[in-house]
Every structure is written in C-alpha cells, then in structure tokens.
C-alpha cells in the first residue's frame, strides 16, 4: 500500500472541489446497477436462489422420518424406565431383608449409646454356663454329617463361651419389641450382647468349613417347613429332646392366642415372607444372616410367641435369663419354662452350650 503524500493536500482546493462536486453528479442508470448486483450475487451463489431452496417441497424428503424417530426414542425410554423400576423393586425387597440385620459392632454401639431399658441385675454366670464353654459331646455331631445342608445354612454361629463370659452384661441391646428376628451376633464376643440370629445349626457344627460350604441358597429354598420349625425353635432335629419340644411348641401355639401376636406377629410374618423371597438372590455370605423363613402360617404363630418372649428377654444376660428360668422351674410353671427355653434357644444359637445340664435336659413332663 502507498503512503499518503503531503503533496496530495497541496493539490486540494476546497472551493474547486465543492464546485466540481456540484456539477459532477452523474450516476450509472439503475438498470445497470441491478444487472451488476445480480451478476455479483450469481457469481457467489447468494441471493434469492437460497430462498428458493428452502421451500418445504425441497426439504420434505429430509423430514419425513422425524416423527418415527421421535416415537422410537420415546418407546425405548419407556421400556428402559419400566425395566429399571421393576429391577429396583426387587432389589429393594431383597436389600430390606438384609439391611434389617445390623452388624454386631453397630448394635453394640447403639446399645452403649442408648439408655438401657431396664436395670440389669448383676448375676454371676453360673458354673454350668462356664462348663458349657467347652463344646459338649453333642449327639448332633454325627447328625451334622448326615444333614450337611443344614450346616451349610447355618450362620456364623461359633459359640465362644469364654468370650461371652468376658462380656459384661451391661452391653446388652436395649429391647426393641417386637423383634421377631434378632440381629445376628457379629462376633464371638457379642454372644451375650445382642440376641443372636436364630440358628439352624446345632452347637459345635458352626465351624468355618461348614460355614463356607457352597450351595447354601439352594438348601434354604429346599428346606421343608417341618424341618425349619425345630431349627427356629433351637431344637436339634433328631436329638433326644426333639419330640418333647416339638409337642409343647404346638401347645403353645394353641395357647398363644393371648400372646401379643398382633403387631409383632404380623411383622414377623412379613419379614419371613420377604426373607423367603430374597433368599434366592441373597449372596452366600448373607445367607447366614437372613432369617430362615417358615412356610406354614400355623408355625408362625408359635414363632411369634417365642420371638416375642425372646424379645422380652433380650435385655437379660445369659445368666440372668437362666436364673429366671430356674425360678420358673422352682415355681412349677412348666408352660412358662417351656416357652422360656424355646425363646432362649431361639435367641442363642449356642443355647445347648449355654444351658446348664439340668435345663438342657428339662422336659415339661419332668419335675
């Protein structure tokens, strides 16, 4: 580009420029203007031609599939939402049954932080309880081999009487009635701190090998109701005490109309049904914590009485509970003793190890 020269200004005469502009006003004819502008637009492809290409007829082939695409998108979204809703519903049912089991640690913390429901008398553990710390020569041991599936279904119920003895009774979980299925004991030392999970395994069979045995869900789903009932009652099937304990259980069911089965029993039934639905999809590690579901409603009535009693005694330590049972025995209240023993066995998977020999062998027809 050239730079402006100062001589250019010297050549300018404003008066002459004004006179020249006054007489020099010729312009090209408008027709020539239009022709040149049109040629310019034609060369660059701009102008009215673009408006012609935007008429609907020209763009219709590109738009016919829009409604179909929108309908397909909406349909796909609807199907996906329905599938997610159904899946969430199933997951919620299964997780609710599992979540209801609190870990022992959190239960203990809750127990320590919450006020105690009732003062716990300091009852020294009886020597029988301590003696029961050693795994007794259980007659159920061979039976465990006979029915390994039941051992597989057993939760982590490794009784540790020594540790249970070391735990002070003040660590008891406050009573949260109705509590049809007490939470599982998270560790050996929590055996007396919280009401343990209803055990289906006899004492001495809850070793690690049996706990980690596979095919637990299938076993649970295949158990017959008749076999589940004595499990929940803490009775070892085939043990010498089984016939005698099975009978009072039904007696209690008949006489348990006065028992508070209204809300607790209903919730127990609901939990049992929910647990039964979730067993099939519950991981193997969760099986031990999942409550065993009974199938017959009549058995649930008895369960309700037992679980209600167990809930009432949840605040008591083992020694206190055993002392209470002894008092009932001394008073001759056989039915109460039977119910208490059932509740004790229900609340403690290792009840046979915790009970003194006389109560372990106690029958309703003996004195």
């Amino acid at each position: 580009m050239t730079t402006p020269n100062h001589d250019d200004d010297a050549m300018r005469d404003p008066r002459f420029d004004a006179a020249w502009r006054g007489v020099s006003r010729e312009e090209p004819p408008p027709s020539l203007d239009a022709a040149i502008r049109a040629a310019a637009r034609r060369e660059v492809g701009a102008g009215p031609q673009r408006e012609v290409t935007s008429v609907p007829e020209a763009t219709r082939p590109e738009r016919w599939w829009w409604p179909l695409a929108a309908a397909a998108t909406i349909g796909a979204i609807a199907i996906g939402v329905l599938q997610l809703v159904a899946q969430d519903r199933d997951t919620a049912d299964s997780t609710q049954a599992i979540i209801s089991d609190m870990p022992a640690g959190s239960v203990a913390e809750t127990a320590q932080s919450a006020p105690r429901a009732a003062p716990t008398p300091t009852v020294s553990p009886e020597p029988a309880v301590a003696a029961g710390a050693a795994p007794p020569p259980s007659p159920t041991a061979p039976r465990a081999s006979e029915r390994p599936t039941r051992d597989v279904a057993a939760p982590r119920a490794s009784p540790a009487p020594a540790a249970a003895k070391a735990v002070p009774p003040t660590a008891a979980t406050p009573l949260r009635a109705p509590r049809p299925f007490p939470a599982e004991t998270g560790g050996p030392d929590a055996g007396t701190a919280t009401p343990p999970t209803p055990s289906v395994a006899p004492p001495g069979t809850g070793d690690a090998a049996s706990r980690d045995a596979p095919a637990a869900p299938q076993v649970l789903t295949q158990q017959d109701p008749a076999a589940i009932q004595p499990q929940r009652a803490g009775v070892v099937p085939g043990s010498p005490t089984q016939p005698q304990r099975a009978a009072p259980l039904h007696e209690d069911r008949a006489t348990s109309t006065a028992a508070p089965v209204s809300s607790g029993a209903i919730r127990a039934r609901e939990d049992a049904a929910r647990a039964a639905r979730s067993v099939a999809i519950t991981p193997r590690a969760e099986i031990g914590r999942a409550p065993v579901a009974g199938s017959a409603s009549t058995e649930r009535h008895a369960d309700a009485a037992v679980t209600a009693k167990a809930g009432e005694r949840a605040s008591l330590s083992v020694g206190e509970w055993i002392a209470l049972i002894r008092e009932l025995v001394a008073d001759g209240r056989r039915d109460d003793v039977t119910l208490e023993l059932k509740a004790f066995r229900f609340a403690h998977p290792d009840a046979e190890a915790l009970l003194p020999p006389d109560l372990r062998a106690w029958r309703s027809d003996t004195r």
């Binding site: 580009m1 050239t2 730079t3 402006p4 020269n5 001589d7 250019d8 050549m11 005469d13 008066r15 002459f16 420029d17 006179a19 020249w20 006054g22 007489v23 020099s24 006003r25 010729e26 312009e27 090209p28 004819p29 020539l32 203007d33 022709a35 040149i36 502008r37 040629a39 310019a40 637009r41 060369e43 660059v44 492809g45 701009a46 102008g47």
Partner: protein, 221 residues
C-alpha cells in the same frame, strides 16, 4: 495521450490482465487492509452484501471517470459494466496488496485504454449536453432542490458546461490524472503507479490541469 496507450497495451483489458496485485494472500497484507479490502475479501468468501457496499461506494466515481473520458453515456455504460464484471470475476484471486481503489481504477483505466485503441482517442467531451447521448443535467434530477430556482439552475448549468468544456480541452494525460485524483480520490503516488508515470510527472500534470480549470471558473467565482 502517447503515454497511456503503450501502458494500456501492456496491462491489457482482460480479467486476468487487470489483476496486477493478485497473488497469495498474506496475513500481513490482511492486517493492513482497510474497509474496502476487507469487504472485497468478504465478497470473495461469498458475502454478496459486501459487494453491494463496495459497489454503492465506488460506482459514482468510476462511472464519472469513464463518462468524462469518453464523453458518451452509452459507451460509458458499457465500459462501466465491463469494469465491474472484471471485479466480480477477479474476486477469487484478489489479494489486498494495494488499495482497493487503486486496483479498481486500474481496471477502469485499462478498459478505457482498450476503448481508445479500438475507437480512437476522444478529442473532446461534449459540453453542454448538445448530444442526445450526453448525460442529463444532474441538478435537474433533484426535485425541490435549490437547483430548481432559475438563477441557481442557470448558474450551476453554466459552471458545469464550462467545466466540462475545460476538462475536455485538457490533454488526456492531464485529464486522466485530474479525474483519478478528483473522482477516484487517489494520491500522487497511486496515480503514478497506476499510469506508470513518475510521481513528479503526475504532480505536474495535475497542477496544470487544476490551473486551467480554475482559470476557466475564475470569472464566475
């Protein structure tokens, strides 16, 4: 007159021959571009509105430059259309290496030289509108203006006639320098670059042209 012909032959009048500044576009050249150059680049990129702006800004000067030289409106119209069509065709190779006005008037100058080569140089420009092809009096086309007053209209017409006559009496080189300076707004250096003459030569031509025209209007002022 003798100076214009050979240079016009060298430059030619075709679209390719009227693009002395075409070449690869550089960022530096674009940075120094003015509004005209940017609009020409925009038009080259497909913006038709940029061409409209350029055309509206420069059409009068180019048209008057051609009309004053050839003295015939029909011929001027034809040359005017050729000039702008060359601009339109040359948009793809346009590079803002010089002022747009310099590039535009070079195209018009070369087209005029081509006309002179084929028709012979115009010895005179019809003054006073005596010919039927002469452009009409511009003042007469302004309705309601002061030019409608008889005395003003008569004075303006007299000035226009006398200026046109004085301009036609100028040598072609001086007239060309005067019209490029007055209608195109070009500087001395740009006129010298366009016509191929030296700056001092252009300065002298311009000074002589202005002196004659002022002398023609001296008794009126």
């Amino acid at each position: 007159m003798a100076e214009v012909g050979p240079r016009a032959v060298r430059g030619g009048c075709t679209a390719a021959g009227t693009l002395p500044y075409s070449g690869p576009m550089s960022a530096l050249a674009l940075d120094g571009a003015t509004g005209d150059e940017r609009q020409m680049l925009a038009y080259a990129a497909g913006d038709a509105a940029a061409f409209d702006a350029l055309y509206a800004r420069h059409k009068g000067g180019v048209y008057r430059y051609l009309v004053r030289h050839c003295g015939n409106a029909g011929t001027a119209d034809e040359m005017f259309q050729d000039v702008w069509m060359n601009v339109i065709r040359a948009r793809a190779t346009y590079a803002p290496s010089a002022k747009f006005t310099t590039w535009l008037y070079r195209i018009a100058h070369n087209r005029l030289v081509d006309h002179w080569r084929t028709q012979g140089p115009a010895e005179r420009v019809a003054a006073g509108g005596g010919d039927a092809d002469d452009p009409p009096d511009p003042l007469a086309s302004i309705p309601g203006a002061r030019g409608d007053e008889p005395e003003v209209r008569a004075g303006a017409k007299e000035i226009g006639v006398r200026l046109a006559a004085a301009l036609a009496a100028l040598p072609v080189a001086q007239r060309d320098a005067f019209l490029l300076h007055q209608e195109g707004g070009l500087g001395l250096a740009e006129i010298a670059e366009l016509t191929g003459a030296g700056v001092e030569t252009v300065k002298s031509r311009l000074r002589y042209a202005l002196a004659k025209l002022r002398a023609e209007l001296a008794d009126l002022q």
